[in-house]
């Protein structure tokens, strides 16, 4: 049946697998199994997502202005805005797909027993937990109102010392990110199954590999930048503070030199998931394997050269603005290549619409809107008007949330049978999708209009003419919240009450589907041998 031929022994799934290999909480906390570590990230990231979502709903509820009195005070609002951004970016979207799905899937897809450095993998998880705990402590001790970008000199000279905690937390989590990336790169190079050449690795791996390169190269820049904020705040070294001869715009260069590539740390793994889903649910060989693989690497490379497009109105020179604008436009090309390839994969396929596929299609829809509006912002003359308005808010939510979270949800429902050996309710998944997809558009599409009308972002209050659209946006946010709640219930129900899953319920071709569901402790009873490409639906 499969040309990615394996010699796995079946029938073991009920007796012995990674979930019952060792029992008790201690066996999980000390596990070196990448699959268990992946699930621990799942639990952690989901919890953080609920907290970040709580702040999001608070922000939206406040901005709806349903009562005569504002729901939040300006200071509280600014803190909500900061924690929503910092949690969602640093603790949910960046680690979400690589650390959770990547950890679970990457070694199995490569036909490996585990990642190259299992102990380092566990250490990465605890470093992440430590970082998240330090960052979270700023919510309790000394709240931060800088926004997740920590722009100087506001963050260094004009606000509470809680910034140090939040920054230290992000700094710590950065190590987790670097070490996970390192682990993935070495695993991809060294632990591929016999016969799996670099042009036979699944596209999910290409995406994770490109992401890992960015993580290793860019995260240290963030680490140094965040340390400098700490140094500036405690010692007054004067690198960013103009009163001490520093340059506040220098911070923005440093910050975006990491944080723009970080946007691709968020979206590249999502693109990897989508490549897997589209081919599996079209039951057709992916169109343009090489183009998709290399476009991931191209996006990773270009991502380092575009940071200045965050600074078109910062006072950097006109020439710099123009150069960053043209390089930013180049990102559009590999992105368009991917979209065209995915759509072509459906051509003359046999397409089905289970929940994971719906999330993949939702991704395509939302990411297309996010990508196209990105061109508006890359154009200098246009960006001057839109910069720091709700247009930007809408754009990056379409890309980061519409893109990454759609892919994350699709990936969870897709790999769920492999993770737990059970199926989720397809109806539950579909209802969750309808609510999230509808709610998302109702929430964020009006924000493009608000941005065009001139409403700036991070506003506690706004002009009366913006009220209606803000209220529509808020109603949409409840739909999103409800959708994720249904998704959560579906997942929990699936874990405990779901139907037993077969080894390959979707009929997919990559190696993780050639072992039992759930897989044994070391993934395969016998190491598989690969003889063809990853998506050989012939």
């Amino acid at each position: 049946m499969s040309s990615a031929h394996t010699k796995t022994e079946h029938g073991h799934s009920t007796d012995h697998n990674y979930l019952n290999h060792g029992s008790g909480i201690w066996s999980w906390m000390t596990t070196l199994d990448h699959k268990r570590i992946g699930l621990m990230y799942f639990a952690t990231v989901s919890t953080l997502f609920l907290i970040g979502g709580f702040f999001a709903l608070g922000i939206r509820l406040h901005l709806a202005k349903f009562g005569a009195e504002p729901l939040l005070q300006p200071d509280t609002y600014n803190k909500f805005m900061t924690f929503h951004g910092a949690i969602m970016v640093f603790m949910v979207i960046i680690p979400g797909i690589p650390a959770f799905l990547g950890n679970f899937v990457l070694p199995i897809q490569l036909g490996a027993k585990d990642v190259a450095f299992p102990r380092l993998n566990l250490a990465s998880y605890y470093i992440f937990i430590a970082g998240a705990a330090i960052a979270a402590s700023s919510m309790i001790f000394n709240q931060v109102d800088t926004g997740w970008t920590f722009y100087t000199p506001y963050s260094t000279a004009k606000t509470s010392n809680g910034v140090i905690l939040l920054v230290l937390g992000a700094f710590t989590m950065g190590f987790s990110s670097i070490l996970t990336g390192l682990n993935f790169i070495v695993t991809t190079h060294k632990l591929r199954a016999p016969g799996m050449t670099m042009d036979r690795i699944p596209l999910m791996i290409w995406a994770l590999y490109s992401t890992s390169i960015i993580q290793i190269l860019a995260t240290p820049i963030l680490a140094i930048t965040l340390l400098l904020i700490g140094a500036e705040k405690t010692l007054g070294v004067g690198i960013f503070d103009p009163d001490l001869g520093g340059d506040p715009v220098l911070f923005q260069h440093f910050f975006w030199f990491y944080s723009h590539p970080a946007v691709y740390i968020m979206i590249l793994p999502a693109m990897g998931v989508i490549s897997e889903l589209i081919t599996a649910f079209s039951k057709k060989t992916i169109f343009g394997y090489r183009a998709i693989a290399y476009s991931s690497v191209a996006i990773a490379a270009v991502s380092f050269l575009v940071w200045g497009h965050h600074m078109f109105v910062s006072g950097q020179s006109t020439l710099a603005g123009i150069i960053f604008s043209i390089i930013t436009m180049f990102v559009g090309v590999p992105t368009a290549i991917k979209l065209f390839n995915w759509i072509s994969t459906m051509y003359r396929g046999t397409v089905t619409f289970e929940a994971p596929m719906l999330f993949a299609l939702g991704f395509m829809f939302l990411f297309t809107i996010g990508g196209l509006t990105g061109v508006f912002l890359a154009s200098t003359g246009m960006d001057v008007h839109f910069h720091d308005t709700y247009f930007v808010v809408a754009h990056f939510h379409y890309v980061m949330v519409g893109g990454t979270l759609m892919a994350l949800m699709g990936g969870i429902f897709y790999w769920f049978p492999k993770m737990f050996g059970r199926m989720t309710s397809d109806l539950g998944g579909r209802i969750s999708w309808v609510l999230i997809f509808t709610g998302f558009n109702v929430t964020f599409f009006p924000q493009f209009v608000l941005g065009a009308m001139g409403m700036p972002r991070r506003y506690f209050d706004y002009l009366p003419e913006y009220t209606n659209l803000n209220q529509i946006s808020t109603v949409g946010s409840w739909l999103i919240g409800l959708g994720f709640l249904v998704g959560l219930i579906t997942i929990i129900h699936g874990i405990f009450k779901g139907e037993k899953a077969s080894d390959n319920p979707w009929g997919a071709k990559t190696l993780e589907w050639q072992t039992s569901s759930p897989p044994p402790h070391e993934n395969f009873i016998n190491t598989p041998t690969v003889t063809a490409g990853p998506y050989d639906f012939r």
Binding site: Y151, D243, P248, K284, T368, R458
Partner: protein, 320 residues
């Protein structure tokens, strides 16, 4: 231009108060139409495939197609060409937004602080932003703002003019606009600046230029103009012992006709003497040494306030 007139009417953009706003909106209209077409091609194509190739029976076979070089070349090359076009169009507008014209009718120093703006005119009129004190500018003529900040970064955004510029502490940035008609236009702060970020609003009131002239010359608010104050400071700090004001060469370059002139430096680089250059040269003269002069000037960083520097610059500008 009939196609383009459709979009601005329904685009929810603010009123077009400047010529540049019209140009920005034309590009915006093009981008919306191009995006709609792209969206229909991508998502429409996808939807069509989904309906046409929906699986109907279990033993259905998919086609085996791995790639198509011609199609792949086209959908890489065509987007590239389109994006380069959009880049160029945006750049043309950007350069207009960033290059003030030669004849400036009003020049205003604007200083941001948490959470207000102060604006100071060349003759010393000074206002601390409040609902009663809009920024008065002439309609139909160009106004240039020189922006800075006392504390954190702010950003000066006029939606009706489609323009925006950050006000950065320790640095001077500039912004210009030419409102076509008299009227009131709202100004937002768009760089997050703390608790009352969203409350930091002012209005720009454009009035007919004759009225503006009358208003400008009517009772001064400040006793001395910034240029006068700068002149006093120039004497107090003994600037004249090295810098002539009549064009003659002493230790340092003359101040006569300095503003706006091209400068060549010892390291071979060049720049135009604008406000930011003057500011840097006053505070840290060693940053750029004019070709043929010794690096003899003391550092004034820490000895002059931002306001002192602004006054000195105004004085230097007046030495023509």
């Amino acid at each position: 231009m009939s196609w383009s007139s459709l979009i601005p009417a329904t685009s929810f953009m603010p009123i077009q108060a400047t010529e540049i706003a019209k140009e920005v909106d034309l590009l915006y209209a093009f981008l919306i139409i191009a995006s709609l077409v792209s969206f229909v091609i991508l998502i429409g194509g996808m939807t069509w495939f989904l309906i046409k190739f929906k699986r109907t029976s279990l033993d259905q076979k998919s086609a085996y197609i791995t790639h198509n070089n011609f199609a792949e070349f086209l959908w890489s090359f065509i987007p590239l060409i389109i994006m380069m076009g959009i880049f160029y169009w945006g750049m043309v507008i950007f350069e207009k937004l960033r290059t003030p014209p030669e004849d400036i009718a009003a020049e205003i120093h604007v200083t941001g602080e948490q959470w207000a703006w102060t604006y100071r005119y060349a003759n010393g009129k000074e206002f601390y932003s409040s609902a009663n004190d809009p920024m008065i500018v002439p309609a139909g003529k160009a106004t240039k703002l020189v922006l800075t900040s006392k504390d954190v970064i702010h950003s000066f955004y006029v939606p009706a003019f489609r323009t925006k510029q950050d006000a950065v502490p320790g640095k001077l940035t500039q912004l210009w606009f030419e409102p076509k008609q008299p009227g009131e236009y709202i100004v937002f702060c768009t760089e997050y600046c703390g608790t009352k970020h969203s409350g930091m609003m002012i209005k720009i009131k454009a009035i007919p230029s004759e009225e503006y002239a009358a208003w400008y010359h009517a009772e001064k608010k400040g006793a001395d103009s910034p240029a006068d104050l700068g002149k006093t400071l120039f004497a107090q700090k003994a600037c004249a012992s090295c810098h002539s004001i009549d064009g003659s060469r002493i230790v340092g370059p003359t101040m006569k006709g300095l503003f706006g002139s091209g400068r060549k430096f010892a390291d071979g680089s060049q720049t135009k003497a604008d406000e930011n250059y003057l500011r840097e040269s006053i505070l840290v003269s060693s940053a750029k040494i004019v070709e043929g002069y010794p690096p003899a000037m003391p550092v004034f960083q820490g000895q002059l306030s931002d306001e002192d520097v602004a006054n000195l610059i105004e004085y230097i500008k007046s030495i023509k």
